[in-house]
Symmetry: C2
Subunit: 233 residues, 2 copies
DNA sequence: ACAAAAGTGTTACACTTACACCCATGT
DNA sequence: ACATGGGTGTAAGTGTAACACTTTTGT
């Protein structure tokens, strides 16, 4: 079995893309950018960066995300290597893709605008350059699986949020609606949430304020490690 | 956002490894090979091959598997790209790894012997070169997940097999034992199996022959696509 | 007062689990 | 006859799913 490499086999380039998910309380969104320079000038792409041969793609992705968001403490999850020989005029490129979930705030929004990124709803992704739509679909599937098997929301939701918020998040991620009573019973039984004494009016139209909850961080960590089954219906 | 590549960024090489699982009726096994040539002469490795810049790793992996097994109809599942910059004296190598499950038979065994491969039990994997142990662990985890969420065994078991065989397969893959009655009830309820009129003595020691079952291929395909939850205990 | 969303319980059914003995056959 | 693995049923408990009305507040 030959697995040595001759120098002329080192002819592939690396890129990394990061699928960034955010939640505004109503809809699940993802970041897209407008590409500058050829090829595909002006096309939509997933935030991406070149990886040099001596660099670690995870590190480059982390840097990219830090530049985009202005913060560097996001947890990146590896998606996969996308290795099909798709056509880039310059040569063969392998894309090592990641995803992460981030919490929205105003400072972040301003930074995004400055850097030229836009949020689009995950149910309405534009046609993108390269195989970025494929990577996006893969990321959405992965997020779905994640929601079904591990707690989610800690880095998507604000520190305190309503049961309606988190239900809506689950519904966006899984693409289906849940019965309010069953959802609450199940989530509360998991001990993942702690009731606070605070209330908020969820929208202009809402008259009655709804109770705010926060994550039980200890339980959240435990269940993140050992997993649980949320799936139903 | 810069994602163009200059020529001197095409400096990475590609390899592919294929984790091959087989089941002998008693234990789940995986193929390992002895590496020839430096570096790591004589070390154990997962079956692997160089991928040239213009080649598709999936295709190279398929070819590799065909050469190993003498057949070319195995279904390869992509594992991941292993991209950490580990040290290969010649330069940076990205490994695009796959796994597959194959059915054992005598012709295959002879071919394997000729090609210099050996089966080792998945519960007893030797120390391997490069990051191949990491890839193997990843493959085992993936197989575990697969067993929990989709039917398995069609390409691992002989055309007809006993309930004890398939229970043993599940136990090996998941690393735990199941109650015989509960396991049978659950599996039979899923309609995945069809009873045959044939019986076999499962070993020398077994006196009473046990009934053979075969897969309901239609159901198997349906559940492979839409998934189901096997998980319990 | 009314409009809007928040919040709350019960019942039927299905699935999971734990558990121990008899059966069929070869030697 | 006995040793070996093959094969079978029941009951208690737990989780899921379906379902509709009352409460609180702002306007």
């Amino acid at each position: 079995m030959r697995i040595e490499f001759s120098p002329d086999e080192f002819k592939v380039a690396l890129a990394t893309s990061v699928v960034v998910f955010g939640f505004d309380g109503e809809n699940l969104k993802t970041l897209v950018a407008k590409k500058v320079g050829s090829p595909f000038e002006g096309a939509w792409i997933i935030p991406s960066s070149v990886v040099r041969a001596e660099e670690d793609p995870a590190f480059v992705a982390k840097e990219l995300l830090a530049r985009i968001t202005g913060k560097d403490n996001w947890l990146l999850e590896k998606l996969n290597g996308f290795a099909e020989p798709y056509r880039n005029p310059v040569g063969r490129v392998i894309n090592i893709a990641y995803y992460c979930t981030i919490r929205l705030d105003d400072a972040l929004e301003n930074n995004l605008k400055k850097e030229g990124y836009s949020w689009v709803s995950v149910s309405d992704i534009p046609r993108m350059a390269y195989d970025h739509n494929e990577i996006m679909e893969y990321a959405k599937e992965r997020l779905k699986r994640r929601v079904k098997r591990r707690p989610i929301g800690f880095s998507l939701l604000p520190a305190e949020f309503t049961l309606n918020n988190i239900q809506r998040l689950y519904e966006c991620a899984l693409g289906k609606a849940f019965d309010k009573r069953n959802f609450r019973r199940k989530l509360l039984k998991s001990q993942l949430l702690l009731e606070t004494e605070n209330f908020i009016r969820s929208s202009e139209r809402a008259k009655r304020p709804s109770r705010l909850y926060k994550f039980n961080e200890k339980k959240y960590r435990t269940l993140t490690l050992k997993g649980y089954d949320f799936v139903y219906q």
